[in-house]
Amino acid sequence: MAGKVIVMRHRSFLLKCLSALLVFGSWEIAGRVPVSFAFPTFLESMLALWVLIIEGTLFVAYAETLKPLVLGVFISGVLGIGIGLWVGLSKKFDWLVSPIFVVMQTAPLAALIPLLVMAYGIGLTSKVFVVCIMAMPVIVLNTGGAVRNTPISIKEMGHAFLGSRSDIVLKIILPAASPIIFAGLRLGVSAGFIGAILSELKITPTGVGDIITYSRSIADYPTMYAAILSIILLAVVFLNLLERMEKTLFGGLNKGYVTD
């Protein structure tokens, strides 16, 4: 009876453990079968990951890999929000510029990478460019949409109380749009991650991409899998953090826009 109560209370946590066990367990078994000569077991990969961390190689590699990501996301954020603001405020600019970003959203931008490499070589510049073209469209479109859809009521209120144009933009429109802008930034970071990895794998491997390609070439599959696992974990953890931040910062604030 007591056992059942304990299970019930910690049900969610236990289920998560069970789930992890199932997945990692199947991984381990598949590795042992083995499903393929290139499929290491779960434990082997974990060991390789551990080695990477202990020897510090992982951190050095990430310092390299994250450079274009951070730079690219920062530029995309600043430019993207600026352009998005303009798009939201000016119908003319919206007509002119939005279609480009809409096309960029649907189009498989990754195909542009060889072009960028041709134009800007294989250095940091083209990698930053790749991150930017992946991240900017969603930031611009989200910001533009949010600004355009600011409730007319509070804009009118600002006008009624003699707010200047810049007052209305800075004190009313931007704060009102910030939840969606932040969501756009989060999606931009997510797209930027893909851009960063693509540039590593496709342009030149430095950093984590280097670990992946090198270990693959010497058939050190545990290390290769470990590196890939680390990227996925990092991205997922970071994005979940952003999402949580978004909920805490903006969670309660959008209620009460209009009447109950």
Partner: protein, 258 residues
């Protein structure tokens, strides 16, 4: 009482105002006077243009032709002489009550310490003392509207424009608001322009009721309830003149109900 309603000047005058939206004529040659220091209601069924007229007076909408005079001077945009209370409150959801109430002053460049002091006074006046640091989503609908009212009072404008301010709250709160409004009109030295579609409400709170009819929007008549203005708030609703006026207005308006 009657001296008040006779030789007062008009805080706001509307002269031959037309408002067109494309082919639709929202307002047709409207002329109306709003006596200083009194509460005038704009009453009418949906689509009679009362909110449109109020927003034109507020300077939030341009008139297609005609003019609006405030204190004898023509106006075309918002000004420090008029303050607006919105039907859906128009509060900043991310700001505290204090900041919301002080927002009108903030937009005018008043220093923070000064505007917060003024805001605190009006927050207490509308009965929200203690809620200065709450957020709109933590308040009930009635409380939120009081924040909107406090904000409009804080900027110390001579004309207060209220766009169906009580329509978004529940019936009990609404009755309380109507009573409080009577006290406000008596104590504050302001002119009130009040848009409503509720006949009882208009007759209860107003010194003057302008009845607007739609298609085309025009002023059909002006009623000045006088007999019960001095009575205390509880007895007004049973006064026979009050009931008579309500019935009279209803019978003339019922043909326009869609």
């Amino acid at each position: 009482m009657s001296a008040k309603s006779q030789n007062t000047d008009n805080a706001v005058s509307v002269r031959n105002v037309y408002k067109n939206y494309g082919d639709v004529q929202a307002l047709h040659d409207l002329s109306l006077d709003f006596p200083r220091g009194q509460l005038t209601s704009l009453l009418g069924p949906s689509g009679c243009g009362k909110t449109t007229l109020l927003k034109i007076i507020a300077g939030l909408l341009p008139a297609s032709s005609g003019e609006i005079l405030v204190n004898g001077q023509p106006v075309s945009g918002p000004g420090p002489d008029r303050a607006f209370v919105f039907q859906d409150f128009a509060l900043l959801p991310w700001a505290t009550v204090l900041r919301n109430v002080a927002f009108g002053l903030e937009l005018r460049g008043v220093v923070k310490s000064e505007r917060e002091a003024i805001a605190e006074k009006y927050i207490a006046d509308v009965g929200l003392k203690g809620f200065e640091h709450s957020y709109p989503h933590e308040l009930s609908g009635g409380m939120r509207q009081r924040v909107g009212l406090a904000r409009a009072l804080s900027v110390d404008a001579q004309v207060l424009l209220m766009d169906e301010p009580f329509s978004a709250v529940d019936e009990q709160t609404r009755r309380k608001f109507q009573e409080d409004l009577l006290g406000l009109v008596k104590n504050e030295n302001k002119t009130f322009l009040f848009v409503t579609h509720s006949i009882e409400e208009a007759v209860y709170v107003s010194d003057q009721i302008a009845i607007l009819l739609p298609r085309p929007s025009r002023v059909s008549e002006i009623i000045r309830p006088s007999g019960f203005r001095h009575k205390d708030t509880d007895s007004i609703r049973r006064d026979s003149e009050y009931l008579d006026i309500v019935d009279k207005i209803w019978s003339s308006l019922r043909t326009y109900v869609e």
